[in-house]
Amino acid sequence: MTAPRKTLVELKDVAKAYGDVAVLHDIDLRLYDGEFMTVLGPSGSGKTTILRLIGGLTPPSRGAVLLDGTDITAMPINRRPFNTVFQDYALFPHMTVAGNVGYGLKVRGVAKAQIREAVAKALELVALGELAERYPAQLSGGQQQRVALARAIICNPRLILLDEPLGALDAELRRQMQRFLKRLQREIRITFLFVTHDQEEAVTMADRICVMHRGRIVQIGSPSEVYYRPENEYVARFFGDNNLIEGVASADANGRHRIATPIGTFVSARDPTPGLADLAAGGPVKLVVRPEAIRIGEPGLANRLRVRIEEVSFVGPVSQVQVRPLERPEIALMVKLSSRAGGLPLVEGGEIEIGWSDDECHLIAP
């Protein structure tokens, strides 16, 4: 666990434009050997372009693609030791499942007997052993997807690229496939690069998530890092509701950080986002605190605030309480609490004190 991680693929200073339309800007990305990375973002964020750049389906307009430190930008698709699982599966309709899966080996000139063996193993891996002689048209969406997966795995690539492969599946099947893919990746220990727009999916499967927005990478980190330590407003708001309070930074004696806001001065004991302008000098910042980190009526918390309850909503396991600070009612904050049968002892219109510890909030750029 403490061994330094080896970089498998790197994108260095990569940009991509189609004609006048810039799709990717200033991309620097490292993919570690053996990890499951998810590239997450809405459509148009450039996530699929990154996948295509690495796979060799599109050349970058600028920058380099490196494998094991070697520049492979000019290497054509069919020479790169990567395989892709396409969004529409791209199974060859005129070949059987076995034919599809064995294709990669066939074009390499591998002997038929060996191909048969390898195909059988690959199909077993994805639990499709008995369907070897069927044609893609005779399979369900989920089965086709697994054939595409087997086809990509069989050649033992250094990296498998998955382009939103679960998009066409229904919710239940999707969840099953998510768990299946995660397990599979651990088992075969091939690096996975998975592109999706679904945050839940990303959080479930990934070792690291790369969040993209409008052609730029806005944060890379483990799911919990990205969730609890967003580095900017976009990421903060991307994963569920979040509270952001504007203010001005100042230093604090104990190595903590203070932010002076219109509704009070708060303290954060955690490191702020790296790269923030000199905090002691009082630059503008924002404080991020998750709704579920806010407690009601608990004594001894470093940050406290008196608020009026505006609305209480029951949303299943969680209840949302929208509150407004007494001093500045134009600001809205959200608190999330575990629901209780019979409702929470909160009255709309009533005044309460909320608070959070200095350990559960941090500063980001404004």
Binding site: Y18, R52, G56, L57, T58, P59, T73, A74, P76, I77
Partner: protein, 301 residues
């Protein structure tokens, strides 16, 4: 964009994804061939043909000097323009007949379903692929004074003497061409009828329109373009035809196509023939443009 990119990768990988060579020899050869062959066998002949119309013949030789005399001759000599006008009228007649007969047939086909529709469509389309000359020959053998039609009519006592106005004149050309070109009118009309979205027809019926009203207000305007295409196609084919008039036209059924053809045969005045053909082409292009304008934009094509 990605859709074109993939095939580019197969047929024409650009330098970045390619094997490093700046220009792939196969791709270059393919591009050159793609443009060269049509250029040589379609564009060049047309250009030469156009040029030829400006040359002229003197003393049995073609003089390669540009001149307008062929066109002047066409307009001033007393015989050409009338024949041309007559031929245009004939072609319009053929277009009219084929569309008037073809539209109901196409409509009928469009109202059928499933296997029946497929089978009946075949019935009307197969004649397209049947021998052209044989059709003319067959019609000729029917229309003649000794032909099948007359024999039947005589035998049935409908007439006393064989009808002679049916063959070896312009009437015969009109009838024969109409019979031959009918499927060319049926097909485009049928296709445009088929293209009318089903839900539009359902909406019309839902709103209470009778079959006639639906036809008049919905189907007819939407099938107009197909009808015009069919008409212009038969018009064009009839205008330039020179075999039918030769076989059934006799001496009084002389059409423009025959005049053109004879320039390349006995008359041996190729430049003049080319000029006449250019006139034909211009009329055809005008017809295409006019019909393109006549159909209002916005309707499903």
């Amino acid at each position: 964009m990605p859709s074109d990119r993939a095939l580019t990768a197969v047929t024409a990988p650009d330098g970045r994804t390619g094997a490093g060579a700046a220009v792939d020899p196969w791709r270059l050869a393919a591009s050159i061939l793609a443009y060269a062959l049509p250029a040589v066998f379609i564009v060049v002949p047309l250009a030469l043909f156009l040029a030829q119309s400006f040359f002229y013949v003197e003393g049995g030789h073609i003089i390669h000097v540009l001149s307008l005399r062929n066109y002047v001759r066409f307009f001033t000599a007393s015989v050409f323009v009338p024949v041309f006008v007559r031929t245009c009228a004939l072609a319009l007649g053929v277009a009219a007949i084929t569309v008037v007969l073809g539209y109901p047939v196409a409509y009928l086909l469009a109202s059928l379903e499933g296997r029946r529709k497929y089978a009946m469509t075949l019935v009307f389309v197969i004649p397209l692929l049947m021998s052209y000359i044989i059709k003319i020959y067959a019609i000729r053998s029917i229309l003649g004074s000794n032909g099948f039609l007359n024999r039947i009519l005589l035998w049935a006592g409908v007439i006393d003497h064989p009808l002679t106005f049916l063959l070896f004149n312009l009437n015969a050309v009109l009838l024969t061409l109409s019979a031959i070109l009918l499927p060319f009118a049926i097909l485009p009309i049928f296709v445009s009828l088929e293209r009318i979205p089903r839900n539009v027809l359902d909406a019309s019926a839902d709103l209470g329109a009778s079959a006639w009203h639906t036809f008049r207000n919905v189907i007819w305007p939407l099938s107009l373009q197909g009808t015009v295409v069919g008409a212009s196609f038969t018009f064009m084919l009839a205008l330039g035809d020179f075999v039918t008039p030769q076989m059934v036209g006799g001496t009084s059924g002389f059409t423009f196509g025959r005049i053109i053809y004879s320039q390349f045969g006995f008359a041996f005045n190729w430049p003049f023939g080319a000029a006449l053909s250019v006139v034909l082409l211009v009329v055809v292009m005008v017809a295409i443009v006019l019909t393109g304008r006549a159909v209002r934009p916005g309707y499903p094509t």
